[in-house]
């Protein structure tokens, strides 16, 4: 707040230009001259500052365009190809997919039957396909058990997306609980936590040569 200029000092035109630049950049909608004037310190002339800004951005990768009565910053139309066909919508991963992914990350390598056992419901083909397509999981070794079922493991792309260095770094149940991610209701009949979920590798290494 202390940066706000005094009531009577009109900022120099170059400063007004900076202000308009920041406003146009940050605004989600085009701004009319009136809207700009309302935000600028008293005595500012957005029309003049805007004219300066338009000249500054002429021929740049970003340009000042007029939208009806208002003004906005847009990428230069001739550079559209840089962004072209890259406009995508972001969608939240479905709950089924998130859960399936979590189970694979924590229990890998894991078969579809095991995923279903943990989730308590059937895993639709589409869910696994979606995760495969996103390249967050891949097919691992076949399990040496009857039917030789396929197993799933998570990929580098998964680690990359979720900012993990390895799947072993995922917090275990006690750590999830300590972080507040798990309700602390004690399971009926048992007093202990099943903690080894996340780190299958952990303790067994104790005994290896």
């Amino acid at each position: 707040m202390s940066d706000e200029p005094g009531l009577f000092a009109v900022p120099p035109l170059a400063e007004q230009e900076r202000m308009i630049e920041a406003m146009l950049f940050a605004s989600a909608v085009p701004l009319s001259l009136d809207a700009m004037r309302a935000r600028l310190p008293q005595g500012c002339d957005p029309a003049e500052a805007l004219a300066l800004l338009r000249r500054r951005y002429a021929g740049r990768g970003v340009t000042v365009v007029r939208v009806g009565d208002a003004w906005a910053l847009r990428t230069a139309p001739d550079l559209g190809w840089l962004m072209h066909d890259q406009r995508v919508e972001t969608r939240k991963l479905s709950r089924a997919a998130t859960e399936t992914l979590a189970i694979i990350a924590y229990h890998q390598p894991v078969t579809r039957a095991e995923i279903e056992e943990i989730r308590g419901v059937a895993v639709s083909r589409g869910t696994v396909d979606q995760l495969l397509e996103l390249e967050w999981i891949r097919v691992g070794r076949r399990r040496m058990s009857p039917g030789r079922p396929v197993t799933y493991v998570v990929t580098e792309a998964f680690l990359d997306h979720f900012g993990l260095e390895s799947a072993r770094d995922l917090p275990g149940l006690a750590e999830l609980r300590a972080a507040g991610l798990l309700d602390n209701r004690p399971p009926p009949g048992t007093g202990t936590d099943d903690d080894d979920a996340g780190d299958g590798t952990g303790q067994s290494e104790l005994f290896e040569e």
Partner: protein, 249 residues
């Protein structure tokens, strides 16, 4: 004038403190010196007095406040006695210096937090573009999920699990009795230190990790039992090093 009042306020506002170190840090300000030159002896006395006052006012203090009081009482006595070079806890001066270090570090982190929060912040002091255009892979829908989503999903699943009827799957459980029997039978032929993993039964060493874990756990429990009975010795060279077993000579 304001001094006794301040001390009282300290006692009454016990809920406002975040643990004993926080109390000590607040008390240390009354000494009006650099934390590096603080008198820990005086601080210990102030803290003990604080605890006494809380007791007198019948204010329930959490256990960690009392643990700190006990420790400071001990430290105080050590500081007043002539030094004992044999003491396994280290010299009283070292203990006092460590406490001063903890206070200084906490104070430093508080100041760091304040400086951090006072920085210009995105969405408050500086802004990203108001109408961003997505840049990502061509023509696909980008699915978004964060690590937080993932952890929550797993936590949710596992919590639900807790409420499922308990069903014990014995297929992949190696009983301790079997491990004991196997270990007793094999111990005689074991000349010297042998890795515990060697005692795992056939068919339990590879394959499903849960199966192997069960065998390892049961065999380990069995070694503990036999060690207790004086039949074998256990050895581990280092943290996470392999456990080794030999018959007791």
């Amino acid at each position: 004038m304001p001094d006794p009042q301040a001390a009282d306020a300290l006692v009454i506002d016990i809920d406002g403190f975040e643990g004993p170190l926080d109390v000590l840090l607040t008390l240390s300000r009354t000494q009006k010196v650099d934390l590096r030159r603080i008198s820990v002896l005086q601080l210990a006395e102030q803290y003990l007095e604080f605890v006494e006052r809380a007791r007198a006012l019948r204010i329930e203090l959490a256990a960690d406040y009392l643990v700190m009081a006990a420790w400071l009482a001990y430290l105080k006595s050590r500081l007043l006695l002539p030094p004992d070079p044999q003491d396994p806890d280290g010299s009283a001066e070292d203990l006092a210096a460590h406490l001063a270090f903890q206070l200084e570090r906490l104070q430093a982190m508080r100041e760091a937090a304040a400086r951090l929060m006072a920085r210009p912040r995105k969405g408050l002091d500086f802004f990203e573009r108001g109408a961003p255009e997505a840049i990502a892979r061509a023509r696909t829908t980008r699915y978004d999920a964060t690590l937080y989503d993932l952890l929550r999903a797993y936590a949710r699943l596992r919590t639900r699990d807790d409420f499922r009827p308990y069903a014990f799957d014995r297929r992949d459980i190696y009983p301790i009795e079997a491990a004991l029997e196997r270990l007793r039978a094999r111990l005689g032929d074991t000349p010297d230190w042998t890795a515990l993993v060697r005692f795992l039964p056939e068919g339990w060493r590879g394959g499903a990790p849960a199966r192997k874990r069960s065998a390892v756990a049961s065999t380990f429990a069995a070694t503990l039992e036999l060690a207790k009975q004086g039949q074998l010795e256990l050895q581990q060279a280092d943290t996470f090093a392999p456990l080794r077993v030999r018959p007791r000579p």
